[in-house]
Amino acid sequence: MSQKTALYEKHLQQGGKIVDFAGWQMPINYGSQIEEHHQVRRDAGMFDVSHMTVVDITGEAVIPFLQYLLANDVAKLKQSGKALYSCMLNEKGGVIDDLIVYYMRDDWFRMVVNAGTRDKDLAWINQQAEKFNIAIKERDDLAMIAVQGPRGREKALQVLPVDVAQAAADLDRFFGAVSGEWFVGRTGYTGEDGFEIMLPESEVEAFWDALVEAGVRPCGLGARDTLRLEAGMNLYGTDMDETTSPLISGLGWTIAWQPAERDFIGRAAIEAEKNNGPAQKLVGLVLEDKGVLRGHQKVIVQGHGEGEVTSGTFSPTLRQAIALARVPAAIGDHCQVDIRGKLLSARVVKPVFVRDGQSCIN
Protein backbone atom coordinates (compact mmCIF):
# COMPACT_ATOMS: atom_id res chain seq x y z
CA MET A 1 0.00 0.00 0.00
CA SER A 2 1.58 3.20 -1.19
CA GLN A 3 1.56 6.28 1.00
CA LYS A 4 1.03 9.92 0.09
CA THR A 5 2.38 13.02 1.77
CA ALA A 6 0.16 15.97 2.68
CA LEU A 7 1.45 17.69 -0.47
CA TYR A 8 0.40 14.95 -2.90
CA GLU A 9 -2.49 16.96 -4.41
CA LYS A 10 -0.14 19.95 -4.87
CA HIS A 11 2.28 17.77 -6.81
CA LEU A 12 -0.50 16.66 -9.16
CA GLN A 13 -1.75 20.23 -9.62
CA GLN A 14 1.76 21.40 -10.46
CA GLY A 15 2.29 18.69 -13.07
CA GLY A 16 4.48 16.42 -10.98
CA LYS A 17 5.27 13.06 -12.58
CA ILE A 18 4.57 10.62 -9.75
CA VAL A 19 6.65 7.51 -9.05
CA ASP A 20 6.85 5.06 -6.18
CA PHE A 21 9.80 5.83 -3.90
CA ALA A 22 10.30 3.66 -0.82
CA GLY A 23 6.55 3.04 -0.67
CA TRP A 24 5.63 6.69 -1.16
CA GLN A 25 3.96 8.36 -4.14
CA MET A 26 6.47 11.12 -4.86
CA PRO A 27 7.15 13.51 -7.77
CA ILE A 28 10.24 12.53 -9.81
CA ASN A 29 10.05 15.83 -11.71
CA TYR A 30 7.58 18.53 -12.73
CA GLY A 31 8.68 18.62 -16.38
CA SER A 32 12.45 18.93 -16.68
CA GLN A 33 14.78 17.42 -14.11
CA ILE A 34 17.71 19.39 -15.52
CA GLU A 35 15.91 22.74 -15.26
CA GLU A 36 14.96 21.92 -11.67
CA HIS A 37 18.57 21.01 -10.95
CA HIS A 38 19.83 24.36 -12.32
CA GLN A 39 17.12 26.21 -10.42
CA VAL A 40 18.59 24.92 -7.15
CA ARG A 41 22.20 25.64 -8.16
CA ARG A 42 21.39 29.16 -9.39
CA ASP A 43 18.39 30.43 -7.41
CA ALA A 44 15.97 28.51 -5.18
CA GLY A 45 14.07 25.24 -5.43
CA MET A 46 12.10 23.14 -2.99
CA PHE A 47 11.50 19.47 -2.35
CA ASP A 48 8.72 17.73 -0.49
CA VAL A 49 10.66 15.50 1.89
CA SER A 50 7.72 14.69 4.17
CA HIS A 51 8.30 10.99 3.50
CA MET A 52 11.43 11.12 5.65
CA THR A 53 11.12 9.90 9.20
CA VAL A 54 11.45 12.34 12.09
CA VAL A 55 12.03 10.83 15.52
CA ASP A 56 12.16 12.68 18.83
CA ILE A 57 14.24 11.02 21.53
CA THR A 58 13.71 12.39 25.01
CA GLY A 59 14.62 11.58 28.59
CA GLU A 60 17.44 11.79 31.08
CA ALA A 61 19.59 9.15 29.42
CA VAL A 62 19.32 10.43 25.86
CA ILE A 63 23.00 11.48 25.59
CA PRO A 64 24.49 8.18 26.77
CA PHE A 65 21.93 6.35 24.61
CA LEU A 66 22.92 8.19 21.42
CA GLN A 67 26.60 7.82 22.28
CA TYR A 68 26.00 4.08 22.26
CA LEU A 69 23.65 4.00 19.24
CA LEU A 70 25.63 6.17 16.81
CA ALA A 71 29.15 5.98 15.35
CA ASN A 72 29.54 9.74 15.57
CA ASP A 73 29.56 11.26 19.05
CA VAL A 74 26.71 13.54 20.16
CA ALA A 75 28.98 14.82 22.92
CA LYS A 76 30.48 17.04 20.16
CA LEU A 77 27.23 18.98 20.22
CA LYS A 78 27.65 21.79 22.73
CA GLN A 79 25.20 24.38 21.46
CA SER A 80 21.45 23.97 21.29
CA GLY A 81 20.25 23.42 17.72
CA LYS A 82 23.55 22.02 16.43
CA ALA A 83 23.24 19.14 13.97
CA LEU A 84 25.44 16.06 13.54
CA TYR A 85 25.60 13.63 10.62
CA SER A 86 26.16 10.03 11.67
CA CYS A 87 25.89 6.40 10.71
CA MET A 88 23.97 3.92 12.80
CA LEU A 89 25.86 0.63 12.64
CA ASN A 90 25.07 -2.99 13.36
CA GLU A 91 27.42 -5.17 15.43
CA LYS A 92 29.35 -6.15 12.28
CA GLY A 93 30.00 -2.50 11.44
CA GLY A 94 27.52 -2.44 8.53
CA VAL A 95 25.47 0.70 8.04
CA ILE A 96 21.83 0.33 9.17
CA ASP A 97 21.18 3.93 8.13
CA ASP A 98 22.70 7.37 7.88
CA LEU A 99 20.93 10.19 9.66
CA ILE A 100 21.02 13.71 11.03
CA VAL A 101 20.56 14.33 14.72
CA TYR A 102 19.85 17.77 16.21
CA TYR A 103 20.71 18.60 19.80
CA MET A 104 17.67 20.44 21.12
CA ARG A 105 18.19 20.16 24.90
CA ASP A 106 20.12 17.81 27.19
CA ASP A 107 16.98 15.68 27.38
CA TRP A 108 15.71 16.10 23.80
CA PHE A 109 17.34 15.18 20.48
CA ARG A 110 15.59 15.14 17.11
CA MET A 111 16.68 12.61 14.51
CA VAL A 112 15.86 12.45 10.79
CA VAL A 113 16.27 9.03 9.17
CA ASN A 114 15.51 7.72 5.68
CA ALA A 115 12.00 6.83 4.49
CA GLY A 116 13.01 3.47 3.03
CA THR A 117 14.56 2.32 6.30
CA ARG A 118 11.82 3.57 8.65
CA ASP A 119 10.56 0.22 9.92
CA LYS A 120 13.92 -1.43 10.57
CA ASP A 121 15.36 1.78 12.08
CA LEU A 122 12.50 2.18 14.55
CA ALA A 123 12.69 -1.49 15.48
CA TRP A 124 16.46 -1.28 16.01
CA ILE A 125 16.32 1.97 17.98
CA ASN A 126 13.55 0.65 20.22
CA GLN A 127 15.43 -2.60 20.79
CA GLN A 128 18.63 -0.77 21.79
CA ALA A 129 16.67 1.62 24.00
CA GLU A 130 15.47 -1.06 26.38
CA LYS A 131 18.51 -0.60 28.61
CA PHE A 132 18.11 3.20 28.73
CA ASN A 133 15.64 5.51 30.39
CA ILE A 134 14.37 7.30 27.30
CA ALA A 135 11.24 7.77 25.21
CA ILE A 136 11.11 7.45 21.41
CA LYS A 137 8.39 9.17 19.45
CA GLU A 138 7.99 9.20 15.69
CA ARG A 139 6.76 12.61 14.52
CA ASP A 140 4.57 11.53 11.62
CA ASP A 141 2.40 14.57 12.35
CA LEU A 142 5.09 16.76 10.79
CA ALA A 143 5.53 17.52 7.10
CA MET A 144 8.93 18.60 5.77
CA ILE A 145 10.02 20.87 2.93
CA ALA A 146 13.65 21.41 1.89
CA VAL A 147 14.20 24.89 0.39
CA GLN A 148 17.62 24.85 -1.28
CA GLY A 149 19.76 27.18 -3.37
CA PRO A 150 21.73 30.42 -3.09
CA ARG A 151 18.50 32.44 -2.73
CA GLY A 152 16.61 29.76 -0.82
CA ARG A 153 16.97 31.15 2.67
CA GLU A 154 16.15 34.70 1.63
CA LYS A 155 12.98 33.59 -0.15
CA ALA A 156 11.89 31.25 2.65
CA LEU A 157 12.41 33.96 5.28
CA GLN A 158 9.94 36.19 3.41
CA VAL A 159 7.11 33.71 3.91
CA LEU A 160 7.89 31.90 7.16
CA PRO A 161 5.61 32.90 10.07
CA VAL A 162 7.17 35.93 11.80
CA ASP A 163 8.31 34.14 14.94
CA VAL A 164 9.71 31.20 12.96
CA ALA A 165 11.52 33.58 10.59
CA GLN A 166 13.06 35.33 13.58
CA ALA A 167 14.37 32.04 14.92
CA ALA A 168 15.68 30.99 11.48
CA ALA A 169 17.24 34.24 10.27
CA ASP A 170 20.48 34.04 12.24
CA LEU A 171 21.09 30.30 12.08
CA ASP A 172 24.63 29.27 11.24
CA ARG A 173 25.18 26.40 8.84
CA PHE A 174 24.30 23.02 10.31
CA PHE A 175 22.14 24.50 13.07
CA GLY A 176 18.40 24.24 13.64
CA ALA A 177 15.86 26.19 15.68
CA VAL A 178 12.43 25.38 16.98
CA SER A 179 9.53 27.82 17.11
CA GLY A 180 6.21 26.49 18.38
CA GLU A 181 5.38 23.42 16.30
CA TRP A 182 7.76 24.51 13.51
CA PHE A 183 11.41 23.59 13.15
CA VAL A 184 13.94 25.07 10.74
CA GLY A 185 17.37 23.54 10.09
CA ARG A 186 20.04 25.20 7.94
CA THR A 187 20.84 21.85 6.37
CA GLY A 188 20.20 20.01 3.14
CA TYR A 189 21.15 17.37 0.62
CA THR A 190 22.12 19.40 -2.42
CA GLY A 191 25.50 21.04 -1.67
CA GLU A 192 23.76 24.43 -1.58
CA ASP A 193 22.78 26.63 1.31
CA GLY A 194 19.16 26.41 2.41
CA PHE A 195 16.67 25.28 5.00
CA GLU A 196 14.91 22.07 5.87
CA ILE A 197 11.61 23.08 7.41
CA MET A 198 9.38 20.82 9.51
CA LEU A 199 5.85 21.98 10.19
CA PRO A 200 2.41 20.62 11.10
CA GLU A 201 0.80 18.77 8.18
CA SER A 202 -2.29 21.00 8.44
CA GLU A 203 -0.23 24.07 7.52
CA VAL A 204 1.98 22.62 4.80
CA GLU A 205 -0.19 23.24 1.72
CA ALA A 206 -0.56 26.96 2.47
CA PHE A 207 3.17 27.24 3.16
CA TRP A 208 4.05 25.44 -0.10
CA ASP A 209 1.82 27.90 -2.00
CA ALA A 210 3.49 30.84 -0.25
CA LEU A 211 6.93 29.52 -1.25
CA VAL A 212 5.79 29.21 -4.88
CA GLU A 213 4.57 32.84 -4.66
CA ALA A 214 7.99 33.85 -3.36
CA GLY A 215 9.62 32.31 -6.43
CA VAL A 216 10.75 28.97 -5.04
CA ARG A 217 10.26 26.34 -7.74
CA PRO A 218 9.02 22.81 -6.91
CA CYS A 219 11.69 20.21 -7.73
CA GLY A 220 11.37 16.45 -7.85
CA LEU A 221 13.37 13.54 -6.49
CA GLY A 222 15.22 13.27 -9.81
CA ALA A 223 16.92 16.63 -9.34
CA ARG A 224 17.46 15.83 -5.67
CA ASP A 225 19.49 12.80 -6.74
CA THR A 226 21.69 14.61 -9.30
CA LEU A 227 22.25 17.46 -6.83
CA ARG A 228 23.29 15.18 -3.98
CA LEU A 229 25.59 13.20 -6.26
CA GLU A 230 27.30 16.37 -7.53
CA ALA A 231 27.72 17.35 -3.87
CA GLY A 232 29.32 13.95 -3.21
CA MET A 233 26.71 12.93 -0.66
CA ASN A 234 25.95 9.25 -0.20
CA LEU A 235 22.55 7.70 -0.81
CA TYR A 236 21.60 4.96 1.60
CA GLY A 237 20.90 1.60 -0.04
CA THR A 238 22.92 2.61 -3.09
CA ASP A 239 26.32 3.80 -1.87
CA MET A 240 26.23 1.94 1.44
CA ASP A 241 24.08 -0.56 3.29
CA GLU A 242 24.25 -3.19 6.04
CA THR A 243 26.93 -5.15 4.17
CA THR A 244 29.35 -2.22 3.85
CA SER A 245 31.17 -0.41 6.62
CA PRO A 246 31.49 3.37 6.73
CA LEU A 247 35.25 2.93 6.10
CA ILE A 248 34.67 1.61 2.58
CA SER A 249 31.77 4.01 1.96
CA GLY A 250 33.58 7.33 2.19
CA LEU A 251 32.15 7.89 5.66
CA GLY A 252 35.22 7.31 7.82
CA TRP A 253 35.14 11.01 8.71
CA THR A 254 31.81 10.53 10.50
CA ILE A 255 33.22 8.04 13.00
CA ALA A 256 34.26 9.53 16.34
CA TRP A 257 37.13 7.28 17.51
CA GLN A 258 37.85 9.49 20.51
CA PRO A 259 37.27 9.09 23.39
CA ALA A 260 38.64 5.57 23.04
CA GLU A 261 36.51 4.30 25.91
CA ARG A 262 33.20 5.23 24.22
CA ASP A 263 31.58 1.93 23.36
CA PHE A 264 29.25 2.33 20.37
CA ILE A 265 27.55 -0.42 18.42
CA GLY A 266 29.85 -1.71 15.68
CA ARG A 267 33.00 -0.20 17.17
CA ALA A 268 34.93 -3.44 17.60
CA ALA A 269 34.26 -4.52 14.03
CA ILE A 270 35.25 -1.27 12.32
CA GLU A 271 38.26 -0.78 14.63
CA ALA A 272 39.60 -4.17 13.48
CA GLU A 273 38.90 -3.24 9.84
CA LYS A 274 40.68 0.08 10.27
CA ASN A 275 43.72 -1.54 11.85
CA ASN A 276 44.00 -4.06 9.04
CA GLY A 277 43.65 -1.34 6.44
CA PRO A 278 40.37 -1.42 4.49
CA ALA A 279 40.73 -3.21 1.14
CA GLN A 280 38.38 -0.83 -0.64
CA LYS A 281 37.38 2.79 -0.64
CA LEU A 282 34.73 5.04 -2.14
CA VAL A 283 36.03 7.52 -4.70
CA GLY A 284 34.63 9.99 -7.20
CA LEU A 285 34.91 9.31 -10.93
CA VAL A 286 34.69 11.77 -13.81
CA LEU A 287 34.22 10.13 -17.20
CA GLU A 288 36.69 11.50 -19.73
CA ASP A 289 34.98 9.91 -22.73
CA LYS A 290 31.40 10.61 -23.78
CA GLY A 291 28.77 8.48 -22.10
CA VAL A 292 26.91 8.19 -18.84
CA LEU A 293 28.11 6.46 -15.67
CA ARG A 294 25.44 4.35 -13.92
CA GLY A 295 25.21 2.25 -10.79
CA HIS A 296 26.64 -1.31 -11.04
CA GLN A 297 28.98 -0.61 -13.97
CA LYS A 298 32.26 -2.44 -13.54
CA VAL A 299 35.39 -0.41 -12.76
CA ILE A 300 38.73 -1.81 -13.89
CA VAL A 301 41.79 -0.74 -11.93
CA GLN A 302 44.92 -1.86 -13.77
CA GLY A 303 46.97 -4.17 -11.59
CA HIS A 304 44.63 -3.98 -8.60
CA GLY A 305 41.44 -5.70 -9.67
CA GLU A 306 37.92 -4.45 -10.06
CA GLY A 307 35.40 -2.22 -8.40
CA GLU A 308 31.87 -1.03 -9.04
CA VAL A 309 30.05 2.22 -9.64
CA THR A 310 27.61 2.72 -6.75
CA SER A 311 25.87 5.86 -8.08
CA GLY A 312 26.37 7.48 -11.45
CA THR A 313 24.73 10.18 -13.49
CA PHE A 314 25.19 12.89 -16.04
CA SER A 315 26.11 16.01 -14.08
CA PRO A 316 23.98 18.92 -15.33
CA THR A 317 26.41 21.44 -13.79
CA LEU A 318 29.64 19.94 -15.17
CA ARG A 319 28.01 18.58 -18.35
CA GLN A 320 29.84 15.29 -18.06
CA ALA A 321 29.26 11.96 -16.37
CA ILE A 322 30.21 11.60 -12.69
CA ALA A 323 29.96 8.75 -10.21
CA LEU A 324 30.72 7.39 -6.80
CA ALA A 325 32.50 4.03 -7.03
CA ARG A 326 33.74 1.45 -4.55
CA VAL A 327 37.19 0.41 -5.75
CA PRO A 328 40.39 -1.31 -4.58
CA ALA A 329 42.08 1.00 -2.04
CA ALA A 330 45.29 1.06 -4.10
CA ILE A 331 43.63 2.83 -7.06
CA GLY A 332 45.68 5.57 -8.73
CA ASP A 333 44.33 8.63 -10.50
CA HIS A 334 42.81 6.85 -13.51
CA CYS A 335 40.69 3.79 -14.18
CA GLN A 336 38.41 2.33 -16.81
CA VAL A 337 34.68 1.75 -16.68
CA ASP A 338 32.91 -0.97 -18.64
CA ILE A 339 29.90 0.62 -20.33
CA ARG A 340 28.01 -1.89 -22.47
CA GLY A 341 31.21 -3.78 -23.24
CA LYS A 342 33.32 -0.74 -24.09
CA LEU A 343 36.12 0.31 -21.75
CA LEU A 344 35.94 4.06 -21.23
CA SER A 345 38.49 6.17 -19.40
CA ALA A 346 37.67 7.88 -16.08
CA ARG A 347 39.60 10.15 -13.75
CA VAL A 348 39.61 9.42 -10.03
CA VAL A 349 38.78 12.45 -7.88
CA LYS A 350 37.84 13.36 -4.33
CA PRO A 351 34.11 12.64 -4.21
CA VAL A 352 32.89 16.23 -4.13
CA PHE A 353 32.07 17.52 -7.60
CA VAL A 354 30.11 20.73 -6.98
CA ARG A 355 29.61 22.88 -3.87
CA ASP A 356 27.79 26.19 -3.60
CA GLY A 357 27.37 26.38 -7.35
CA GLN A 358 31.11 25.94 -8.06
CA SER A 359 32.90 23.04 -9.70
CA CYS A 360 35.32 21.30 -7.32
CA ILE A 361 37.12 19.32 -10.01
CA ASN A 362 39.75 20.92 -12.21
Partner: protein, 129 residues
Amino acid sequence: MSEIPTDLRYTKSHEWVRLEEDGTVTVGITDHAQELLGDIVFVELPEVDMEYTAEDACCVIESVKAASDMYMPITGEVIDTNQALVDEPDMINSSPYDDGWIFRIKPADEDDVEQLLDASTYESEIADE
Protein backbone atom coordinates in the same frame (compact mmCIF):
# COMPACT_ATOMS: atom_id res chain seq x y z
CA MET B 1 -0.88 15.83 -25.60
CA SER B 2 2.10 14.82 -27.69
CA GLU B 3 2.54 15.67 -31.35
CA ILE B 4 2.09 12.88 -33.97
CA PRO B 5 2.65 14.14 -37.56
CA THR B 6 0.34 12.41 -40.01
CA ASP B 7 2.96 12.10 -42.79
CA LEU B 8 5.18 9.72 -40.78
CA ARG B 9 5.03 6.02 -39.92
CA TYR B 10 5.53 4.64 -36.42
CA THR B 11 6.50 1.57 -34.40
CA LYS B 12 5.06 0.30 -31.13
CA SER B 13 8.48 0.94 -29.59
CA HIS B 14 8.06 4.68 -30.34
CA GLU B 15 10.34 5.19 -33.35
CA TRP B 16 9.15 7.35 -36.25
CA VAL B 17 10.10 6.72 -39.86
CA ARG B 18 10.03 9.00 -42.91
CA LEU B 19 10.48 7.72 -46.46
CA GLU B 20 12.50 10.34 -48.33
CA GLU B 21 12.18 11.07 -52.06
CA ASP B 22 15.52 9.37 -52.78
CA GLY B 23 14.28 6.12 -51.26
CA THR B 24 16.27 6.43 -48.04
CA VAL B 25 14.52 6.38 -44.67
CA THR B 26 15.05 8.80 -41.77
CA VAL B 27 14.46 7.52 -38.22
CA GLY B 28 13.95 9.20 -34.87
CA ILE B 29 11.95 8.79 -31.68
CA THR B 30 8.49 10.23 -31.15
CA ASP B 31 7.48 13.23 -29.10
CA HIS B 32 5.75 10.81 -26.73
CA ALA B 33 8.98 8.82 -26.33
CA GLN B 34 11.09 11.87 -25.53
CA GLU B 35 8.51 12.93 -22.94
CA LEU B 36 8.73 9.52 -21.29
CA LEU B 37 12.53 9.57 -21.27
CA GLY B 38 12.92 13.10 -19.91
CA ASP B 39 16.06 15.18 -20.45
CA ILE B 40 18.29 13.34 -22.93
CA VAL B 41 22.00 13.68 -22.18
CA PHE B 42 23.75 11.15 -24.43
CA VAL B 43 23.10 9.15 -27.58
CA GLU B 44 25.19 6.16 -28.61
CA LEU B 45 24.61 6.32 -32.37
CA PRO B 46 24.74 3.21 -34.58
CA GLU B 47 27.77 2.76 -36.81
CA VAL B 48 27.46 3.81 -40.43
CA ASP B 49 27.52 0.84 -42.88
CA MET B 50 26.15 -1.54 -40.27
CA GLU B 51 23.23 -3.66 -41.41
CA TYR B 52 20.41 -4.41 -39.01
CA THR B 53 17.28 -6.50 -39.07
CA ALA B 54 13.96 -4.96 -38.05
CA GLU B 55 13.58 -4.82 -34.23
CA ASP B 56 17.33 -5.13 -33.56
CA ALA B 57 18.54 -2.85 -30.78
CA CYS B 58 20.77 -0.46 -32.71
CA CYS B 59 21.21 2.66 -30.61
CA VAL B 60 21.16 3.70 -26.94
CA ILE B 61 19.51 6.87 -25.70
CA GLU B 62 20.43 8.01 -22.21
CA SER B 63 18.34 10.46 -20.23
CA VAL B 64 19.29 11.73 -16.79
CA LYS B 65 17.13 8.91 -15.47
CA ALA B 66 18.23 5.84 -17.42
CA ALA B 67 19.60 4.26 -20.58
CA SER B 68 17.05 3.00 -23.12
CA ASP B 69 17.53 0.94 -26.27
CA MET B 70 16.21 2.18 -29.57
CA TYR B 71 15.14 -0.41 -32.14
CA MET B 72 15.55 -0.68 -35.89
CA PRO B 73 12.07 -0.05 -37.37
CA ILE B 74 12.76 -1.93 -40.62
CA THR B 75 15.62 -4.03 -42.03
CA GLY B 76 18.33 -1.96 -43.70
CA GLU B 77 21.81 -0.49 -43.69
CA VAL B 78 22.74 2.64 -41.73
CA ILE B 79 24.02 5.29 -44.16
CA ASP B 80 24.16 8.40 -41.97
CA THR B 81 23.85 9.46 -38.33
CA ASN B 82 23.00 12.83 -36.84
CA GLN B 83 26.41 14.00 -35.57
CA ALA B 84 24.87 17.17 -34.10
CA LEU B 85 23.45 14.95 -31.34
CA VAL B 86 26.96 14.24 -30.05
CA ASP B 87 27.15 17.72 -28.55
CA GLU B 88 23.45 18.53 -28.33
CA PRO B 89 21.55 15.33 -27.52
CA ASP B 90 18.73 17.43 -26.04
CA MET B 91 17.67 18.36 -29.60
CA ILE B 92 15.72 15.10 -29.40
CA ASN B 93 13.68 16.71 -26.62
CA SER B 94 13.22 20.08 -28.29
CA SER B 95 12.72 18.90 -31.88
CA PRO B 96 12.05 15.15 -32.03
CA TYR B 97 10.82 15.16 -35.66
CA ASP B 98 13.27 17.60 -37.24
CA ASP B 99 16.66 18.58 -35.76
CA GLY B 100 16.47 15.57 -33.44
CA TRP B 101 16.46 12.91 -36.19
CA ILE B 102 18.82 10.08 -35.22
CA PHE B 103 19.92 8.07 -38.25
CA ARG B 104 19.18 7.37 -41.91
CA ILE B 105 19.03 3.96 -43.54
CA LYS B 106 18.89 2.38 -46.94
CA PRO B 107 15.97 -0.02 -46.53
CA ALA B 108 16.22 -3.60 -47.73
CA ASP B 109 12.69 -3.14 -49.03
CA GLU B 110 11.00 0.27 -49.33
CA ASP B 111 7.59 -1.35 -48.96
CA ASP B 112 8.42 -2.25 -45.35
CA VAL B 113 7.71 1.37 -44.45
CA GLU B 114 4.07 0.96 -45.46
CA GLN B 115 3.74 -1.97 -43.06
CA LEU B 116 4.45 0.26 -40.04
CA LEU B 117 1.74 2.02 -38.00
CA ASP B 118 0.10 5.15 -39.34
CA ALA B 119 -0.40 8.19 -37.12
CA SER B 120 -3.91 7.35 -35.94
CA THR B 121 -2.99 3.73 -35.11
CA TYR B 122 0.09 4.92 -33.20
CA GLU B 123 -2.07 7.44 -31.36
CA SER B 124 -4.45 4.75 -30.17
CA GLU B 125 -1.44 2.54 -29.23
CA ILE B 126 -0.07 5.14 -26.82
CA ALA B 127 -3.54 5.97 -25.52
CA ASP B 128 -3.74 2.35 -24.30
CA GLU B 129 -0.48 2.52 -22.37
